[in-house]
Subunit: 213 residues, 2 copies
């Protein structure tokens, strides 16, 4: 069994028999498309992999592929972790400084993803530095995470989440975190992503190390 298939564990239809046959089939189709995509990209690279090939291997029609994922990049990047992060963020104690909350939530998300399928985490980062469209989609979803961060900041500081200051601050955080991910991939995944995130958050909180000695 390839490590790719490990990702199925948590969301596989077998785990939720309460769903109707229709819903279970949809989940299976989603997984089939994603698995086919990962496998083909691994074999031939991203650009050489066409939607038609993906459809063939997943045993669906090309139209169905587009019904499940709006773009090719989304097949690679879409996951179901965002709701988990929201939930986890809400569960944090109200008096915790929000940057600690953030640190905690990111740790949790990373741990979950690395436990479930580290190869996919690496492949995504790798595609992120190689394929502009993928990187672009990554930035996009980081921005959505940025909105989360803004709400969290607003809740804890009383500032307006749509103010220039909060937006700039949140985006600087997400930009910095994005850069961690890219740095990790560009340096051949050396070091624990978790530790790199901590170093990044320190920079974001206190500035560059030697700046104010």
């Amino acid at each position: 069994m390839s490590p790719m298939t490990a990702a199925r564990s948590r969301f596989s239809p077998a785990d939720r028999p309460q769903l109707g046959l229709r819903e279970r089939k949809k989940i299976k189709t989603r997984e089939a498309i994603r698995d086919a995509t990962y496998a083909l990209i691994k074999e031939q690279g991203y650009d050489a992999t066409t939607i038609e090939q993906i459809a063939d291997r997943a045993e669906v029609s090309p139209s169905t592929v587009f019904r499940y994922f709006p773009t090719k990049e989304d097949i690679v990047l879409t996951d179901e972790y965002d709701p988990l992060m929201v939930e986890e963020l809400r569960a944090r104690p109200a008096d915790e400084s929000w940057i600690d909350s953030l640190r905690h939530v990111i740790h949790m998300a990373l741990d979950t993803m690395m436990a479930e399928d580290p190869e996919v985490v690496r492949m995504r980062a790798h595609l992120g530095i190689q394929i502009p469209a993928v990187r672009s989609r990554m930035v996009e979803s980081m921005s959505e995470t940025g909105r989360l961060i803004r709400e969290s900041i607003a809740e804890r500081t009383g500032l307006d989440p749509d103010s220039l200051e909060v937006r700039v601050y949140a985006m600087s955080l997400t930009g910095g975190l994005m850069e961690v991910y890219m740095h990790w991939a560009e340096n051949d995944f050396r070091g624990e992503l978790r530790d790199l995130v901590d170093r990044a958050l320190d920079v974001l909180e206190h500035g560059l190390p030697t700046e104010n000695p």
Copy 2:
């Protein structure tokens, strides 16, 4: 004369007779393509404007359009300001704090662009929030600017420009600045971009206003 054409002034072939006919024609073609694109987008919107229409109006073939600009977004976004910024950055006194240098360079770039063609500055921001591909290309070019910032930081602090810390810091700056631009566009271009940048740089330098009272 439409405000669009004002952008020609500084780079128009008439200003540099030292160039051969070939080079002067190339500059003219570039401008023709860009002017046609801006005009068509203004008339019909971005998506409704095809490369074929652009080619027609610029009186070149579609192949030629792609020879001058790799993608449709590039027609809208590519400009010649980067070399100017590099030059300006080098000209700053060595003992100036690099964030002040940055502030100065951005002010200069903004002033130049707003003086030359404010409508284009606004149109780009507007397209940036509406068209994902354009926003993506904007982020891309901000990343290139980010590399500039890293070198500047490295020169002045002695840190490694490729270290995680410097990369994270630089990207947090560029991300924050990008957000200023988007915020300005989303709020109907209210306020001076210059002032917004100053507020953003304050946040990036000192954190959120009420954070450490």
